[in-house]
C-alpha cells in the first residue's frame, strides 16, 4: 500500500511539476500582459502543489528524499506524469487548451481527494482545489473566448483540441495502483470522474463552438506508470535539472 500510495502521489506531483514547468516557459512571452500575469500565477500554484505532493511522496517512501530530490534527481523513466502535460506549448491556443483539459480533470480529482481517508491528502487537496477552481474558470473562459472569437482563433482552437484531446483520455486509464488506492479510499477511481469530466468538457466546447473530435488514446504504456513518454520530457529535464546535476549537493 505504501508503494501504491507513493506512486499515486508521484502522479499528482509530477503532473503539477511538468505542467507548471511548461506554463512557466511563457514568462515574458505571452500575447497580452494580463495573460502573462495569469500564466505565471497558474505556474506558481502548480509548483506549490508539486511541493506539497512530492514532499508527502518522499515521506511515504521513507527513504529521506525531499520534494527537491524527487523533482531534480529522477530521470525521465521515473516520472509519472501523463503525456498531455509534457507536450510542447505550441501557440497560445494550444497552451490554453492543454491547460483547460488538465484543469478540468484536476479540479474534479482534487475535490474527490478532499474526501480521502488520508487526512494529509485531504488537507492538501482542500487548498489545491480552491486554486484549481480558479484555474478552470480562467482557462475555460479563454477557451470559450478564443473558440467563439474570430475565424482564425476558432480554427486554431479546434486544431489544438484535435491534437490534445486524445492525450486527455490518458487521465482515465487505470491500473493496479489506481485500483488499490480506490479500494483503500485514499484516491478516487479515475474512471469515477470520467462522466463528470466529459459533461463539463462538452459544455465548454459547446459554448466555445468547438467540436469534440473522435479520439482514442492508442498508446500502450502510459506516463502514469512510466512505461511511455514523449521525447519532450527528456528535454524538459535537461533544463529543469541542470544546476542540481552540474553542482550536486549544494545549497541554493
Amino acid at each position: 500500500m505504501a508503494d501504491a500510495k507513493f506512486e499515486a502521489l508521484l502522479r499528482l506531483g509530477d503532473n503539477a511539476l511538468i505542467l507548471g514547468h511548461r506554463v512557466s516557459e511563457w514568462c515574458g512571452h505571452a500575447p497580452v500582459l494580463e495573460e502573462d500575469i495569469a500564466l505565471a500565477n497558474t505556474a506558481l500554484d502548480l509548483l506549490g502543489q508539486t511541493n506539497l505532493w512530492l514532499e508527502y511522496a518522499g515521506e511515504v517512501e521513507g527513504k529521506g528524499r525531499s520534494a527537491d530530490d524527487l523533482a531534480f534527481l529522477r530521470d525521465a523513466w521515473d516520472f509519472r506524469n501523463v503525456l498531455l502535460v509534457e507536450l510542447p506549448n505550441g501557440d497560445f491556443g494550444q497552451t490554453i487548451m492543454r491547460q483547460y483539459l488538465f484543469d478540468q480533470f484536476n479540479l474534479l480529482n482534487l475535490r474527490a481527494l478532499t474526501e480521502s481517508k488520508d487526512t494529509r491528502i485531504a488537507e492538501i487537496a482542500e487548498k489545491a482545489a480552491k486554486e484549481a477552481a480558479y484555474h478552470v474558470e480562467r482557462s475555460r473562459g479563454t477557451v470559450v473566448g478564443l473558440g467563439d472569437g474570430t475565424q482564425e482563433s476558432h480554427a486554431r482552437m479546434q486544431e489544438a483540441l484535435n491534437l490534445l484531446y486524445p492525450y486527455a483520455l490518458e487521465l482515465f486509464i487505470t491500473d493496479e495502483v489506481d485500483d488499490e488506492m480506490a479500494e483503500a479510499g485514499v484516491f478516487p477511481d479515475p474512471k469515477s470522474l470520467e462522466d463528470a469530466y466529459l459533461v463539463a468538457v462538452a459544455a465548454t466546447l459547446q459554448e466555445a463552438t468547438l467540436d469534440l473530435p473522435e479520439a482514442h488514446f492508442g498508446h500502450r504504456g502510459s506516463g502514469k506508470d512510466g512505461r511511455m513518454h514523449t521525447e519532450h520530457l527528456g528535454h524538459i529535464l535537461t533544463q529543469m535539472q541542470w544546476l542540481q546535476r552540474a553542482y550536486p549537493g549544494q545549497t541554493w
Binding site: 497560445f92 553542482y247 541554493w252
Partner: protein, 312 residues
C-alpha cells in the same frame, strides 16, 4: 510664462499633485510619456533576463520566488502603462513604439544572465539601482505616476532582498558557487552604475525635469549613494568589487570609484550589446504571434456585448 503655466508650476512647487484632467504644459506631458513609457518597457523587457532562468532554477522554492518576481514585473509594467494612458497614449501605441525602436528600455537588460548567480546579481544590483532611482519618484509631481511608484517600490525592495539572499547562499557555498558569484558581480557592476545615466553635466533634459519634479535627484548623486550602499554589502559577502580605484574618501564621506565605460553605454544603447537583438526579437515575436489571440478575445467580447444589448 503664461498664467496657466505659472499656476501649474506653483502647484508643482507646492508639492500638489498634478492629475490627468489638470492643465499641463505639452513638454511636461511629452517628457512624462517618454519617461513612464521607458520605465514600463523596462519592466516588460526586464522579465526576459530573469525569465531565462525560471526553467533552470535550482530548487522548487527558488523557482517559485523567481516566477513570482517576474510576475511582479509584469504587474509593474501594467501599473505604469495605466499611468501613461492617463496622459493620452494607449498601451498598444507604446508597445508599437518599443518594437519600432522609437521608445527605449533600460540598457541594463541588454546584458545576459549567464549563470544562476546572475539572478542574484540582478536582484541585488539591478533592482538595488532601480530602487535608488525610484524611491524619490514616489514624490514626483504627476499623481498617477507617483502612486504607481509607491506600489512598485514596496515590491522592489523585497526583490532586492531576495537577490541578495541568492548571492549570500552562493558566496557561502562551494568554490564553484563563490566563483559564480564573483563572476556575476564582475559582469554586473559597471552596467549597474550606468543605470543612473551619464553625468548630469552631459544630460540635456535634466534641469527642466527637475523643475517639473519629474526628476528629483541628479544622476551622479544617486550613483554615489548606490556605491556607498553596495560596497559594504559586497564586503559582507566576501566579494571584490571589480574596481582597483575604489577607496573610501573621508572628506566627502563616500567612496571614490571608477566611472563606467560610457562608450560601451552608448554602444549598447545603439543596439550593439550582446543580447539587444534577442530582447527585442523576443518581444516582437510575443506581439506578432499574439495578434490572433488579442483579436479573438476582442471579437468574443464584442459578440457578448452585442448579445447583451440585443437582450435588453
Amino acid at each position: 510664462m503664461e498664467p496657466e503655466e505659472r499656476a501649474f508650476q506653483e502647484k508643482v512647487d507646492a508639492d500638489i499633485r498634478i492629475e490627468p484632467r489638470d492643465w499641463m504644459p505639452e513638454g511636461y506631458r511629452k517628457t512624462l510619456i517618454r519617461q513612464i513609457g521607458q520605465h514600463a518597457h523596462s519592466e516588460i523587457v526586464g522579465q526576459l533576463p530573469e525569465g531565462n532562468w525560471i526553467t533552470r532554477a535550482p530548487t522548487l522554492e527558488r523557482k517559485m520566488i523567481l516566477l513570482a518576481k517576474v510576475q511582479d514585473e509584469a504587474g509593474h509594467g501594467l501599473y505604469l502603462y495605466c499611468a501613461a494612458e492617463t496622459l493620452g497614449v494607449s498601451r498598444d501605441e507604446m508597445t508599437e513604439m518599443l518594437l519600432s525602436g522609437k521608445m527605449k528600455y533600460s540598457s541594463i537588460f541588454n546584458y545576459p544572465t549567464l549563470t544562476w548567480a546572475d539572478i542574484g546579481a540582478v536582484g541585488w544590483l539591478v533592482d538595488g539601482a532601480a530602487i535608488m532611482n525610484q524611491v524619490p519618484l514616489q514624490r514626483t509631481s504627476y499623481g498617477p505616476y507617483s502612486r504607481a511608484m509607491v506600489r512598485i517600490c514596496k515590491e522592489e525592495s523585497f526583490h532586492q532582498r531576495q537577490g541578495y539572499d541568492i548571492m549570500m547562499k552562493m558566496a557561502q557555498g562551494s568554490e564553484a558557487q563563490k566563483r559564480m558569484a564573483q563572476d556575476a558581480l564582475n559582469r554586473f557592476w559597471y552596467p549597474s552604475l550606468m543605470m543612473f545615466g551619464p553625468s548630469d553635466a552631459n544630460s540635456v533634459h535634466s534641469e527642466q525635469s527637475m523643475a517639473w519634479k519629474i526628476k528629483i535627484n541628479s544622476n551622479d548623486e544617486l550613483r554615489q549613494k548606490f556605491v556607498d550602499q553596495t560596497v559594504p554589502q559586497a564586503e559582507y559577502l566576501g566579494l571584490t568589487v571589480p574596481d582597483d580605484t575604489l577607496a573610501w574618501n573621508e572628506d566627502k564621506g563616500g567612496y571614490d570609484f571608477a566611472e563606467p565605460d560610457w562608450d560601451e553605454f552608448f554602444d549598447v544603447l545603439k543596439g550593439a550589446g550582446p543580447v539587444n537583438h534577442d530582447r527585442l526579437e523576443a518581444r516582437r515575436k510575443a506581439w506578432d504571434d499574439g495578434a490572433w489571440v488579442r483579436e479573438g478575445l476582442l471579437a468574443h467580447a464584442e459578440k457578448k456585448r452585442s448579445a447583451k444589448v440585443a437582450a435588453e
